[in-house]
Protein backbone atom coordinates (compact mmCIF):
# COMPACT_ATOMS: atom_id res chain seq x y z
CA UNK A 1 0.00 0.00 0.00
CA UNK A 2 1.27 3.41 -0.89
CA UNK A 3 1.19 5.84 1.98
CA UNK A 4 1.77 9.42 1.04
CA UNK A 5 2.72 11.98 3.65
CA UNK A 6 0.90 15.17 2.70
CA UNK A 7 3.00 18.32 2.49
CA UNK A 8 1.71 21.38 4.29
CA UNK A 9 0.81 23.11 1.03
CA UNK A 10 -1.19 20.16 -0.20
CA UNK A 11 -4.91 20.24 0.18
CA UNK A 12 -7.18 17.73 1.76
CA UNK A 13 -8.73 15.46 -0.84
CA UNK A 14 -12.15 16.95 -0.30
CA UNK A 15 -11.01 20.46 -1.14
CA UNK A 16 -9.93 19.60 -4.65
CA UNK A 17 -12.08 19.28 -7.70
CA UNK A 18 -11.72 15.69 -8.72
CA UNK A 19 -9.58 15.24 -11.81
CA UNK A 20 -12.24 13.03 -13.38
CA UNK A 21 -14.92 15.60 -12.87
CA UNK A 22 -12.89 18.29 -14.53
CA UNK A 23 -12.02 16.05 -17.46
CA UNK A 24 -15.67 15.07 -17.79
CA UNK A 25 -16.76 18.63 -17.66
CA UNK A 26 -14.37 19.41 -20.45
CA UNK A 27 -15.77 16.66 -22.66
CA UNK A 28 -19.18 17.99 -21.83
CA UNK A 29 -18.03 21.42 -22.91
CA UNK A 30 -16.61 19.97 -26.10
CA UNK A 31 -19.89 18.38 -27.04
CA UNK A 32 -21.79 21.50 -26.18
CA UNK A 33 -19.50 23.62 -28.32
CA UNK A 34 -18.93 27.33 -28.21
CA UNK A 35 -22.22 28.58 -26.95
CA UNK A 36 -22.37 26.10 -24.14
CA UNK A 37 -18.91 26.95 -22.90
CA UNK A 38 -19.57 30.64 -23.00
CA UNK A 39 -22.84 30.55 -21.20
CA UNK A 40 -21.42 28.33 -18.47
CA UNK A 41 -18.62 30.79 -17.92
CA UNK A 42 -20.90 33.78 -17.79
CA UNK A 43 -23.06 32.26 -15.09
CA UNK A 44 -20.08 31.36 -12.98
CA UNK A 45 -19.43 34.91 -11.87
CA UNK A 46 -20.36 35.25 -8.26
CA UNK A 47 -23.12 37.57 -7.25
CA UNK A 48 -22.48 39.48 -4.09
CA UNK A 49 -23.65 42.49 -2.21
CA UNK A 50 -21.21 44.80 -4.00
CA UNK A 51 -22.91 44.11 -7.31
CA UNK A 52 -25.51 46.63 -6.24
CA UNK A 53 -22.99 49.35 -6.78
CA UNK A 54 -21.23 48.08 -9.86
CA UNK A 55 -22.16 49.11 -13.35
CA UNK A 56 -24.15 46.80 -15.50
CA UNK A 57 -22.37 43.52 -16.13
CA UNK A 58 -20.56 43.14 -19.40
CA UNK A 59 -20.77 39.78 -21.03
CA UNK A 60 -17.93 37.42 -20.21
CA UNK A 61 -15.38 36.55 -22.88
CA UNK A 62 -16.15 33.23 -24.56
CA UNK A 63 -13.34 30.69 -24.36
CA UNK A 64 -13.47 27.84 -26.87
CA UNK A 65 -12.62 24.22 -26.11
CA UNK A 66 -9.40 23.01 -27.76
CA UNK A 67 -8.08 19.64 -28.86
CA UNK A 68 -4.71 18.74 -27.44
CA UNK A 69 -2.33 16.04 -26.33
CA UNK A 70 -2.75 15.39 -22.62
CA UNK A 71 0.16 15.91 -20.22
CA UNK A 72 0.77 12.41 -18.88
CA UNK A 73 3.88 13.20 -16.91
CA UNK A 74 3.67 12.42 -13.23
CA UNK A 75 2.92 15.62 -11.45
CA UNK A 76 2.12 15.44 -7.81
CA UNK A 77 1.31 19.04 -7.15
CA UNK A 78 -2.25 20.21 -6.91
CA UNK A 79 -3.56 22.44 -9.65
CA UNK A 80 -4.63 25.97 -8.81
CA UNK A 81 -8.40 26.06 -9.39
CA UNK A 82 -9.39 27.51 -12.73
CA UNK A 83 -11.53 30.16 -11.06
CA UNK A 84 -8.41 31.51 -9.32
CA UNK A 85 -6.15 31.22 -12.38
CA UNK A 86 -8.52 33.47 -14.33
CA UNK A 87 -9.30 35.98 -11.57
CA UNK A 88 -5.89 36.71 -10.01
CA UNK A 89 -3.79 38.30 -12.72
CA UNK A 90 -0.97 40.75 -13.14
CA UNK A 91 -1.78 42.31 -16.49
CA UNK A 92 -1.30 46.04 -15.99
CA UNK A 93 -2.77 46.79 -19.43
CA UNK A 94 -6.08 46.03 -17.70
CA UNK A 95 -5.32 47.56 -14.29
CA UNK A 96 -2.72 47.02 -11.58
CA UNK A 97 -4.99 45.33 -9.07
CA UNK A 98 -5.17 41.54 -9.30
CA UNK A 99 -8.93 41.48 -9.77
CA UNK A 100 -9.01 44.25 -12.38
CA UNK A 101 -7.92 42.31 -15.49
CA UNK A 102 -10.92 39.96 -15.34
CA UNK A 103 -13.21 42.96 -14.92
CA UNK A 104 -11.74 45.22 -17.56
CA UNK A 105 -10.75 42.80 -20.32
CA UNK A 106 -13.87 40.86 -21.21
CA UNK A 107 -14.56 42.79 -24.40
CA UNK A 108 -11.00 42.41 -25.66
CA UNK A 109 -10.95 41.39 -29.35
CA UNK A 110 -8.60 38.50 -30.11
CA UNK A 111 -9.87 37.68 -33.61
CA UNK A 112 -8.54 38.94 -35.99
CA UNK A 113 -4.99 38.74 -34.60
CA UNK A 114 -1.56 38.98 -36.19
CA UNK A 115 1.61 37.55 -34.73
CA UNK A 116 4.69 38.46 -36.75
CA UNK A 117 7.99 36.60 -36.49
CA UNK A 118 10.74 38.76 -38.00
CA UNK A 119 14.26 40.12 -37.54
CA UNK A 120 17.35 37.96 -38.02
CA UNK A 121 15.52 35.13 -39.79
CA UNK A 122 15.54 33.76 -43.32
CA UNK A 123 11.81 33.25 -43.54
CA UNK A 124 9.82 35.86 -41.64
CA UNK A 125 6.10 35.14 -41.44
CA UNK A 126 2.85 36.21 -39.85
CA UNK A 127 0.31 33.99 -38.15
CA UNK A 128 -3.40 34.78 -38.19
CA UNK A 129 -5.74 34.02 -35.30
CA UNK A 130 -6.69 30.61 -36.73
CA UNK A 131 -3.04 29.77 -37.47
CA UNK A 132 -2.22 30.09 -33.76
CA UNK A 133 -4.23 26.96 -33.08
CA UNK A 134 -3.58 25.05 -36.32
CA UNK A 135 0.08 25.57 -37.11
CA UNK A 136 1.35 23.14 -34.49
CA UNK A 137 -0.32 20.34 -32.54
CA UNK A 138 -1.27 21.58 -29.09
CA UNK A 139 0.11 19.92 -25.98
CA UNK A 140 -0.92 20.25 -22.39
CA UNK A 141 1.90 21.33 -20.06
CA UNK A 142 1.32 21.50 -16.34
CA UNK A 143 3.76 24.12 -15.05
CA UNK A 144 4.40 25.95 -11.83
CA UNK A 145 4.13 29.72 -12.22
CA UNK A 146 6.18 31.72 -9.71
CA UNK A 147 5.38 35.42 -9.51
CA UNK A 148 8.14 37.82 -8.49
CA UNK A 149 5.73 38.95 -5.75
CA UNK A 150 6.32 35.59 -3.99
CA UNK A 151 3.08 33.82 -4.81
CA UNK A 152 2.70 30.87 -7.15
CA UNK A 153 0.19 28.74 -8.99
CA UNK A 154 0.12 25.41 -10.83
CA UNK A 155 -1.51 25.77 -14.22
CA UNK A 156 -2.38 23.34 -17.03
CA UNK A 157 -1.38 25.31 -20.13
CA UNK A 158 -2.05 24.37 -23.73
CA UNK A 159 0.38 25.34 -26.43
CA UNK A 160 3.50 24.45 -28.37
CA UNK A 161 7.23 24.94 -27.87
CA UNK A 162 8.51 28.34 -28.90
CA UNK A 163 11.38 26.45 -30.57
CA UNK A 164 8.99 25.06 -33.19
CA UNK A 165 7.80 28.53 -34.06
CA UNK A 166 11.33 29.97 -34.26
CA UNK A 167 12.69 27.09 -36.34
CA UNK A 168 9.96 27.65 -38.89
CA UNK A 169 11.34 31.16 -39.43
CA UNK A 170 14.90 29.83 -39.75
CA UNK A 171 16.97 32.14 -37.54
CA UNK A 172 20.32 33.21 -39.03
CA UNK A 173 23.68 33.33 -37.26
CA UNK A 174 23.13 36.86 -35.95
CA UNK A 175 20.05 35.79 -34.00
CA UNK A 176 21.34 35.87 -30.42
CA UNK A 177 18.24 37.05 -28.58
CA UNK A 178 14.49 36.99 -29.01
CA UNK A 179 12.43 40.13 -28.35
CA UNK A 180 8.70 39.96 -27.66
CA UNK A 181 6.08 42.68 -27.78
CA UNK A 182 2.51 42.89 -26.45
CA UNK A 183 -0.27 44.51 -28.45
CA UNK A 184 -0.40 48.29 -28.10
CA UNK A 185 -4.03 49.35 -28.30
CA UNK A 186 -5.04 51.96 -25.71
CA UNK A 187 -8.64 51.85 -26.93
CA UNK A 188 -8.92 48.25 -25.78
CA UNK A 189 -6.35 48.29 -23.00
CA UNK A 190 -7.34 50.95 -20.46
CA UNK A 191 -4.05 50.66 -18.56
CA UNK A 192 -2.18 51.90 -21.64
CA UNK A 193 -4.38 54.99 -21.74
CA UNK A 194 -4.64 55.82 -18.06
CA UNK A 195 -1.52 56.12 -15.94
CA UNK A 196 -3.34 55.33 -12.72
CA UNK A 197 -4.72 52.08 -14.12
CA UNK A 198 -1.53 51.17 -15.94
CA UNK A 199 0.83 51.59 -12.99
CA UNK A 200 3.18 54.00 -14.74
CA UNK A 201 4.97 51.45 -16.89
CA UNK A 202 5.93 52.24 -20.45
CA UNK A 203 3.81 50.54 -23.10
CA UNK A 204 3.87 48.41 -25.15
CA UNK A 205 5.13 45.80 -22.71
CA UNK A 206 8.32 44.19 -24.03
CA UNK A 207 10.23 41.12 -22.95
CA UNK A 208 13.20 39.09 -24.13
CA UNK A 209 15.05 35.80 -23.92
CA UNK A 210 18.47 34.61 -24.96
CA UNK A 211 18.16 32.38 -28.03
CA UNK A 212 19.16 29.22 -26.15
CA UNK A 213 16.55 29.98 -23.48
CA UNK A 214 13.98 30.51 -26.20
CA UNK A 215 14.91 27.21 -27.86
CA UNK A 216 14.69 25.21 -24.62
CA UNK A 217 11.86 22.70 -24.98
CA UNK A 218 10.26 23.94 -21.74
CA UNK A 219 9.66 27.39 -23.21
CA UNK A 220 6.05 27.40 -24.26
CA UNK A 221 3.86 29.53 -26.49
CA UNK A 222 0.50 29.10 -24.78
CA UNK A 223 -2.87 29.53 -26.46
CA UNK A 224 -5.03 28.00 -23.75
CA UNK A 225 -5.44 26.76 -20.20
CA UNK A 226 -7.71 24.22 -18.55
CA UNK A 227 -8.67 22.78 -21.93
CA UNK A 228 -9.89 26.01 -23.48
CA UNK A 229 -8.54 29.06 -25.29
CA UNK A 230 -6.98 31.67 -23.02
CA UNK A 231 -9.28 34.28 -21.52
CA UNK A 232 -8.05 37.86 -22.16
CA UNK A 233 -6.84 38.40 -18.60
CA UNK A 234 -4.43 35.46 -19.01
CA UNK A 235 -2.94 36.86 -22.22
CA UNK A 236 -5.24 35.83 -25.06
CA UNK A 237 -4.85 34.81 -27.77
CA UNK A 238 -1.19 33.84 -27.37
CA UNK A 239 1.37 34.31 -24.62
CA UNK A 240 4.77 33.10 -23.54
CA UNK A 241 5.27 30.77 -20.56
CA UNK A 242 8.81 30.39 -19.21
CA UNK A 243 8.29 28.29 -16.09
CA UNK A 244 11.77 28.70 -14.56
CA UNK A 245 11.61 32.51 -14.62
CA UNK A 246 9.48 34.96 -12.67
CA UNK A 247 6.03 35.47 -14.13
CA UNK A 248 6.69 38.90 -15.60
CA UNK A 249 8.93 37.29 -18.24
CA UNK A 250 5.92 35.37 -19.55
CA UNK A 251 4.63 38.20 -21.73
CA UNK A 252 0.97 38.22 -22.75
CA UNK A 253 -1.09 38.95 -25.88
CA UNK A 254 1.96 38.89 -28.14
CA UNK A 255 1.90 40.56 -31.58
CA UNK A 256 5.61 40.59 -32.38
CA UNK A 257 8.54 38.22 -31.98
CA UNK A 258 11.79 39.55 -33.35
CA UNK A 259 15.13 37.77 -33.43
CA UNK A 260 17.88 40.23 -32.68
CA UNK A 261 21.63 40.42 -32.19
CA UNK A 262 21.76 42.43 -28.95
CA UNK A 263 20.06 41.92 -25.61
CA UNK A 264 16.66 43.60 -25.95
CA UNK A 265 15.17 46.00 -23.41
CA UNK A 266 12.59 44.49 -21.08
CA UNK A 267 9.77 46.40 -19.40
CA UNK A 268 10.36 45.81 -15.68
CA UNK A 269 14.11 46.10 -16.09
CA UNK A 270 13.64 49.53 -17.67
CA UNK A 271 11.38 50.59 -14.79
CA UNK A 272 13.56 49.35 -11.90
CA UNK A 273 16.88 47.84 -13.02
CA UNK A 274 17.99 47.16 -9.44
CA UNK A 275 14.86 45.13 -8.73
CA UNK A 276 14.29 43.23 -11.97
CA UNK A 277 17.05 41.76 -14.11
CA UNK A 278 16.99 40.60 -17.72
CA UNK A 279 17.27 36.93 -16.76
CA UNK A 280 14.83 36.95 -13.83
CA UNK A 281 15.43 33.27 -13.11
CA UNK A 282 13.58 32.10 -10.02
CA UNK A 283 16.28 32.10 -7.36
CA UNK A 284 15.60 31.72 -3.62
CA UNK A 285 19.09 33.10 -2.90
CA UNK A 286 18.59 36.44 -4.62
CA UNK A 287 16.01 38.49 -2.74
CA UNK A 288 13.99 41.21 -4.31
CA UNK A 289 15.36 44.36 -2.63
CA UNK A 290 12.04 44.75 -0.85
CA UNK A 291 11.03 41.19 -0.02
CA UNK A 292 12.45 37.70 0.41
CA UNK A 293 12.35 35.23 -2.46
CA UNK A 294 13.29 32.26 -0.26
CA UNK A 295 9.72 31.06 0.02
CA UNK A 296 6.38 31.58 -1.67
CA UNK A 297 2.68 31.18 -1.06
CA UNK A 298 1.09 28.59 -3.34
CA UNK A 299 -2.38 29.67 -4.36
CA UNK A 300 -4.78 26.75 -4.21
CA UNK A 301 -8.35 26.33 -3.10
CA UNK A 302 -8.98 27.24 0.49
CA UNK A 303 -9.43 30.48 2.39
CA UNK A 304 -7.34 32.42 4.84
CA UNK A 305 -6.32 29.38 6.85
CA UNK A 306 -4.89 27.21 4.07
CA UNK A 307 -1.27 26.83 5.09
CA UNK A 308 0.36 27.35 1.77
CA UNK A 309 3.86 28.77 2.34
CA UNK A 310 6.47 26.58 0.65
CA UNK A 311 10.17 26.82 -0.07
CA UNK A 312 11.08 28.38 -3.39
CA UNK A 313 13.29 26.13 -5.53
CA UNK A 314 16.17 27.31 -7.75
CA UNK A 315 14.86 27.72 -11.31
CA UNK A 316 11.40 27.09 -9.84
CA UNK A 317 12.25 23.38 -9.67
CA UNK A 318 13.24 23.13 -13.34
CA UNK A 319 17.00 23.14 -12.67
CA UNK A 320 17.52 19.74 -14.27
CA UNK A 321 16.22 21.05 -17.57
CA UNK A 322 17.73 24.53 -17.60
CA UNK A 323 20.68 24.99 -15.23
CA UNK A 324 23.11 24.14 -18.07
CA UNK A 325 22.06 27.34 -19.80
CA UNK A 326 23.73 29.35 -17.05
CA UNK A 327 26.83 27.25 -16.36
CA UNK A 328 29.42 30.00 -16.51
CA UNK A 329 27.36 32.83 -15.12
CA UNK A 330 27.25 34.47 -11.71
CA UNK A 331 23.54 34.33 -11.03
CA UNK A 332 23.86 36.66 -8.05
CA UNK A 333 24.88 39.40 -10.44
CA UNK A 334 22.98 38.35 -13.54
CA UNK A 335 19.71 38.01 -11.67
Amino acid sequence: MLIKAPKTYELKENAVTDEKIYRDRRSLLKTMGYLGAGSLLSTSTQANVFDLFSKEKTEMFKSKPLNYLKDNSEFEQILTPESKVISHNNFYEFGTKKNQPIELSQEFKVDPWQLTISGEVDKPFTLSYDDLFKQFPLEERIYRLRCVEAWSMVIPWLGFSLAKLLKKAQPNSRAKYVAFETLYDPKQMPGQKNRRLGGGIKYPYVEGLRIDEAMNPLTLMSVGLYGKTLPPQNGAPIRLVVPWKYGFKSIKSIVGIKLVERMPATTWNILAPKEYGFYANVNPKVDHPRWSQASERRITAGGLFSRNRIETLPFNGYGEEVSDLYKNMNLMEDF
Partner: protein, 199 residues
Protein backbone atom coordinates in the same frame (compact mmCIF):
# COMPACT_ATOMS: atom_id res chain seq x y z
CA UNK B 1 -25.00 74.18 12.55
CA UNK B 2 -27.11 74.24 15.70
CA UNK B 3 -29.25 71.50 17.08
CA UNK B 4 -30.97 73.38 19.93
CA UNK B 5 -32.79 70.45 21.47
CA UNK B 6 -30.04 67.88 21.32
CA UNK B 7 -27.39 67.75 24.02
CA UNK B 8 -23.74 67.46 23.09
CA UNK B 9 -23.60 64.14 24.83
CA UNK B 10 -26.32 62.78 22.56
CA UNK B 11 -24.47 64.08 19.51
CA UNK B 12 -21.25 62.44 20.62
CA UNK B 13 -23.05 59.17 21.19
CA UNK B 14 -24.67 59.44 17.80
CA UNK B 15 -21.33 59.89 16.04
CA UNK B 16 -19.71 57.20 18.15
CA UNK B 17 -22.37 54.71 17.09
CA UNK B 18 -21.66 55.54 13.48
CA UNK B 19 -17.92 55.02 14.04
CA UNK B 20 -18.51 51.63 15.71
CA UNK B 21 -20.81 50.55 12.95
CA UNK B 22 -18.62 51.76 10.07
CA UNK B 23 -15.44 50.26 11.56
CA UNK B 24 -16.75 46.90 12.68
CA UNK B 25 -19.07 45.96 9.85
CA UNK B 26 -16.43 45.87 7.07
CA UNK B 27 -14.10 43.83 9.28
CA UNK B 28 -16.76 41.24 10.06
CA UNK B 29 -17.76 40.91 6.43
CA UNK B 30 -14.08 40.80 5.37
CA UNK B 31 -13.17 37.88 7.62
CA UNK B 32 -16.39 36.07 6.90
CA UNK B 33 -15.58 36.13 3.18
CA UNK B 34 -11.91 35.36 3.74
CA UNK B 35 -12.53 32.24 5.80
CA UNK B 36 -14.97 30.99 3.20
CA UNK B 37 -12.56 31.59 0.30
CA UNK B 38 -14.87 34.16 -1.25
CA UNK B 39 -12.35 36.97 -1.29
CA UNK B 40 -10.68 36.53 -4.65
CA UNK B 41 -7.86 34.17 -5.48
CA UNK B 42 -5.52 35.36 -2.74
CA UNK B 43 -7.51 36.22 0.39
CA UNK B 44 -4.25 36.73 2.30
CA UNK B 45 -3.19 39.66 0.16
CA UNK B 46 -6.69 41.13 0.15
CA UNK B 47 -7.01 41.00 3.92
CA UNK B 48 -3.58 42.56 4.47
CA UNK B 49 -4.22 45.38 2.01
CA UNK B 50 -7.74 46.04 3.31
CA UNK B 51 -6.70 46.34 6.95
CA UNK B 52 -3.65 48.45 6.02
CA UNK B 53 -5.63 50.95 3.98
CA UNK B 54 -8.37 50.89 6.61
CA UNK B 55 -5.86 51.84 9.32
CA UNK B 56 -4.51 54.68 7.18
CA UNK B 57 -8.04 55.98 6.47
CA UNK B 58 -8.89 55.94 10.17
CA UNK B 59 -5.65 57.71 11.09
CA UNK B 60 -6.44 60.47 8.59
CA UNK B 61 -9.99 60.73 9.94
CA UNK B 62 -8.59 61.04 13.46
CA UNK B 63 -6.42 63.94 12.34
CA UNK B 64 -9.33 65.53 10.52
CA UNK B 65 -11.45 65.88 13.67
CA UNK B 66 -9.61 68.85 15.23
CA UNK B 67 -9.59 71.06 12.10
CA UNK B 68 -13.31 70.39 11.55
CA UNK B 69 -14.24 70.96 15.18
CA UNK B 70 -12.38 74.28 15.16
CA UNK B 71 -13.67 75.44 11.80
CA UNK B 72 -17.33 74.73 12.60
CA UNK B 73 -17.02 75.48 16.32
CA UNK B 74 -18.27 72.04 17.31
CA UNK B 75 -16.08 71.36 20.33
CA UNK B 76 -17.85 68.12 21.30
CA UNK B 77 -16.44 66.47 18.18
CA UNK B 78 -13.05 66.37 19.93
CA UNK B 79 -14.45 63.51 22.02
CA UNK B 80 -14.44 61.31 18.92
CA UNK B 81 -10.67 61.34 18.47
CA UNK B 82 -9.90 58.58 20.93
CA UNK B 83 -12.41 56.15 19.46
CA UNK B 84 -11.19 56.81 15.91
CA UNK B 85 -7.59 56.47 17.02
CA UNK B 86 -8.32 53.19 18.76
CA UNK B 87 -9.98 51.79 15.67
CA UNK B 88 -7.00 52.92 13.60
CA UNK B 89 -4.81 51.00 16.05
CA UNK B 90 -7.10 47.95 15.84
CA UNK B 91 -6.91 47.93 12.05
CA UNK B 92 -3.12 48.40 12.12
CA UNK B 93 -2.82 45.54 14.61
CA UNK B 94 -4.93 43.27 12.38
CA UNK B 95 -2.76 44.37 9.43
CA UNK B 96 0.46 43.15 11.05
CA UNK B 97 -1.12 40.08 12.69
CA UNK B 98 -2.49 39.03 9.29
CA UNK B 99 0.97 39.50 7.80
CA UNK B 100 2.54 37.32 10.49
CA UNK B 101 -0.20 34.67 10.65
CA UNK B 102 -1.35 34.28 7.07
CA UNK B 103 1.47 35.61 4.90
CA UNK B 104 4.58 34.54 6.85
CA UNK B 105 2.61 31.74 8.55
CA UNK B 106 4.44 32.25 11.84
CA UNK B 107 7.88 31.85 10.34
CA UNK B 108 9.42 34.07 13.02
CA UNK B 109 12.94 33.91 11.62
CA UNK B 110 11.62 35.24 8.36
CA UNK B 111 9.72 37.96 10.24
CA UNK B 112 12.87 39.13 12.05
CA UNK B 113 14.90 39.01 8.84
CA UNK B 114 12.24 41.02 7.01
CA UNK B 115 12.07 43.67 9.75
CA UNK B 116 15.83 44.15 9.56
CA UNK B 117 16.27 43.88 5.79
CA UNK B 118 13.24 45.65 4.34
CA UNK B 119 13.04 49.38 5.06
CA UNK B 120 9.29 49.54 4.42
CA UNK B 121 8.66 46.82 6.98
CA UNK B 122 11.07 48.42 9.47
CA UNK B 123 9.19 51.69 9.16
CA UNK B 124 5.86 49.93 9.49
CA UNK B 125 7.03 48.23 12.67
CA UNK B 126 8.17 51.54 14.16
CA UNK B 127 4.79 53.06 13.33
CA UNK B 128 2.84 50.21 14.94
CA UNK B 129 4.99 50.35 18.08
CA UNK B 130 4.39 54.09 18.44
CA UNK B 131 0.71 53.61 17.77
CA UNK B 132 0.58 50.89 20.42
CA UNK B 133 2.04 53.28 22.98
CA UNK B 134 -0.67 55.81 22.13
CA UNK B 135 -3.42 53.21 22.37
CA UNK B 136 -2.19 51.93 25.73
CA UNK B 137 -1.96 55.42 27.22
CA UNK B 138 -5.35 56.47 25.92
CA UNK B 139 -7.23 55.52 29.08
CA UNK B 140 -8.23 58.47 31.27
CA UNK B 141 -6.40 57.34 34.40
CA UNK B 142 -3.08 57.21 32.61
CA UNK B 143 -3.77 60.47 30.86
CA UNK B 144 -4.22 62.24 34.19
CA UNK B 145 -1.19 60.57 35.72
CA UNK B 146 1.09 61.46 32.83
CA UNK B 147 0.23 65.16 32.90
CA UNK B 148 2.13 67.18 30.32
CA UNK B 149 4.13 64.29 28.98
CA UNK B 150 0.89 62.69 27.74
CA UNK B 151 0.39 65.42 25.16
CA UNK B 152 4.03 65.14 24.11
CA UNK B 153 3.68 61.42 23.60
CA UNK B 154 0.46 61.77 21.68
CA UNK B 155 1.97 64.36 19.38
CA UNK B 156 3.94 61.49 17.87
CA UNK B 157 0.77 60.83 15.84
CA UNK B 158 2.20 63.45 13.45
CA UNK B 159 5.31 61.35 12.98
CA UNK B 160 3.29 58.15 12.72
CA UNK B 161 1.19 59.49 9.86
CA UNK B 162 4.34 60.31 7.86
CA UNK B 163 5.90 56.90 8.61
CA UNK B 164 2.74 55.17 7.46
CA UNK B 165 2.76 57.20 4.23
CA UNK B 166 6.34 56.19 3.45
CA UNK B 167 5.57 52.57 4.38
CA UNK B 168 2.73 52.56 1.85
CA UNK B 169 4.79 54.29 -0.85
CA UNK B 170 7.74 51.91 -0.51
CA UNK B 171 5.56 48.81 -0.49
CA UNK B 172 4.17 49.15 -4.00
CA UNK B 173 5.84 47.97 -7.20
CA UNK B 174 5.12 50.84 -9.55
CA UNK B 175 1.61 52.10 -8.81
CA UNK B 176 2.65 55.13 -6.73
CA UNK B 177 -0.34 57.37 -7.42
CA UNK B 178 -2.51 56.13 -4.56
CA UNK B 179 0.22 56.34 -1.89
CA UNK B 180 1.16 59.78 -3.21
CA UNK B 181 -2.41 60.99 -2.71
CA UNK B 182 -2.39 59.64 0.85
CA UNK B 183 0.89 61.41 1.59
CA UNK B 184 -0.43 64.68 0.20
CA UNK B 185 -3.58 64.45 2.36
CA UNK B 186 -1.39 63.72 5.40
CA UNK B 187 0.76 66.77 4.71
CA UNK B 188 -2.31 68.98 4.29
CA UNK B 189 -3.64 67.77 7.64
CA UNK B 190 -0.28 68.54 9.26
CA UNK B 191 -0.18 71.94 7.56
CA UNK B 192 -3.57 72.83 9.06
CA UNK B 193 -2.03 72.59 12.52
CA UNK B 194 1.29 74.20 11.60
CA UNK B 195 1.10 76.61 14.57
CA UNK B 196 1.50 73.64 16.87
CA UNK B 197 4.96 72.92 15.56
CA UNK B 198 7.67 75.14 17.01
CA UNK B 199 11.04 75.17 15.36
Amino acid sequence: MTWPLVSNKTKVNFFKSIIHFASLLPIISLYFSAFNDELGADPVETVIHFTGIGAFNLLLLTLLVTPIAKKFKQGYLMNLRRLLGLYAFAYALLHILNFIAFDLQFNMNLLLAEIVKRPYITIGMVAILLLTSLAVTSINRLKRKMGKSWQKLHNTIYIIILLVGVHFYWSVKSEVIEPTIYIIISIVLLFLRRRKFKF
